[in-house]
Assembly symmetry: none
Homo-oligomer: 266 residues x 2
DNA sequence: CCAACGATAT
DNA sequence: ATATCGTTGG
């Protein structure tokens, strides 16, 4: 038996919206620890990991570990029926092929109950080792989203380079090229506007903007985003979810070929 | 000769917008009593009835009963040319094949005059008998609209069930099912937020959401909607127009078949 | 948080 | 041209 209550129901809407651009169907895992998910995107290039810790819920009951395959678009469709300040209760039963969402309006005058069919999904859950990164950049999530969107209109890939002074995002395309430098800056009115660079080693890596622009769908979840970089390791783009956990996206860097791909010879 | 003046001209825009999704062409009837319309939707399933009483106009002159066939989309097109605070005067002449709209800006600095061609329409005007209903639900029109929209994303039909405690809207579709319960509640800050249930007999009826979602185009006309239900009778969804009359939509319930439509045999 | 307006997509 | 979505303002 499974029963999760979240007073700030809008959070769940944001979580699903953050992921469904990348992943259509995913298996959610529920245990005493929390509510989590791990999934590759449909082209098996990027990975997303979600954790909502049990302590973050206003009520959390999970009698035994359970895995539930859900279609994220259908899930979003149902969650869209919740008011933005509705309380959401998620219920599941062992062995059942459905789960249910209950939405309670703040005044309790409107109570909605949605039942959703589960799906069979082969959930390949990888262990993701903790790693030490050469550089960790923290910046406003909206700024990162804007940069990825802007660069995406110029080129297909972004080179992220970190130095002590800051972080540089570069791209190049048919119509020209672009470099956006964000320098470290903690001297702001509010901490969520800060940009900080924690650098052990300078690093410069290339990523497909297409995926970066999917990752930024998680922007509403957090004011800040954390980008962890190391050569040879997938970048981690993390959006912390206040009091509850995170959504993390992993993407392997492109192997830097000699200059442009316009060169026909290997 | 016919001359109707309405200081709150935006009302006329809302009335036409409320109807034109359902009905393309309609015959407006004008008499000493008022300005009215009755029309079936194009698939002859739903019926709409409009009444704007003569007393509600700021000037009302109708020398003899007259019927005017109008294309509602064309009418909307013209009315869209009126400012939201404009005073609208509607004029017609017996025997003429056109009518005219005059828009006066509040400051009288801009006076527009639009002439619209009438059309021949066979206006089959039914008598709609007053009926006694098993249950009458009153609720905020925006809430009703939201419910119909939400359920429309899950299923095709809605079951409306009324008990003493409140009203329940249910649907079922490929991805799952939904129940939304609104309980009676008069204890609110403002009367237009109230939900009241006047129940003589419990009732549960099924309707096509497609039509319900057309009816809710009338939402801007009134803060409250009234839903009158009886077995064997069409539901009446009514939006009152302050001081003037109403727009009423009628829709026959679906005959409840034995469970699902997945059964191939009749 | 709800409503109106503008922009975009069909 | 119309309907829906997203954004901005109250």
């Amino acid at each position: 038996m499974l029963e999760l209550r979240l007073v700030q129901g809008s959070l769940l809407k944001k979580v699903v919206d953050a992921i469904r651009d990348l992943v259509n169907d995913a298996s959610f895992d529920c245990s005493a620890t929390g509510f989590s998910l791990q999934a590759m995107d449909s082209s098996h290039v990027a990975l997303v990991a979600l954790l909502l810790r049990s302590e973050g819920f206003d009520h959390y009951r999970c009698d035994r570990n359970i895995s539930m395959g859900m279609n994220l678009n259908n899930m979003a469709k149902m969650l869209r029926c919740a008011g933005n300040d509705d309380i959401i209760t998620f219920k599941g039963d062992d062995g059942s092929d459905t789960v249910s969402f209950m939405f309670e309006s703040p005044t309790q005058d409107k109570i909605s109950d949605f039942e959703m069919k589960l799906m069979d999904i082969d959930s390949e859950r990888l262990g993701i080792p903790e790693a030490k990164y050469q550089a960790i950049v923290r910046m406003p999530s909206t700024e990162f989203a804007r940069i990825c969107k802007d660069l995406g209109s110029i080129g297909d890939t972004v080179v992220i380079s970190v130095t002590k002074e800051g972080v540089k995002f570069s791209t190049r395309g048919d119509i020209g090229s672009a470099n956006i430098v964000c320098r470290q800056n903690t001297d702001v009115d509010k901490p969520e506007q800060a940009t900080t660079v924690e650098m052990n080693d300078p690093v410069s890596l290339t990523f497909a903007l297409r995926y970066m622009n999917s990752f930024t769908k998680a922007t509403p979840l957090s004011n800040q985003v954390t980008i962890s970089l190391s050569s040879e390791l997938p970048v981690v783009v993390e959006y912390k979810i206040a009091e509850m956990g995170y959504v993390r996206f992993y993407l392997a860097p492109k192997i830097e070929e000699e200059e442009e791909e316009t060169k026909p010879e290997v």
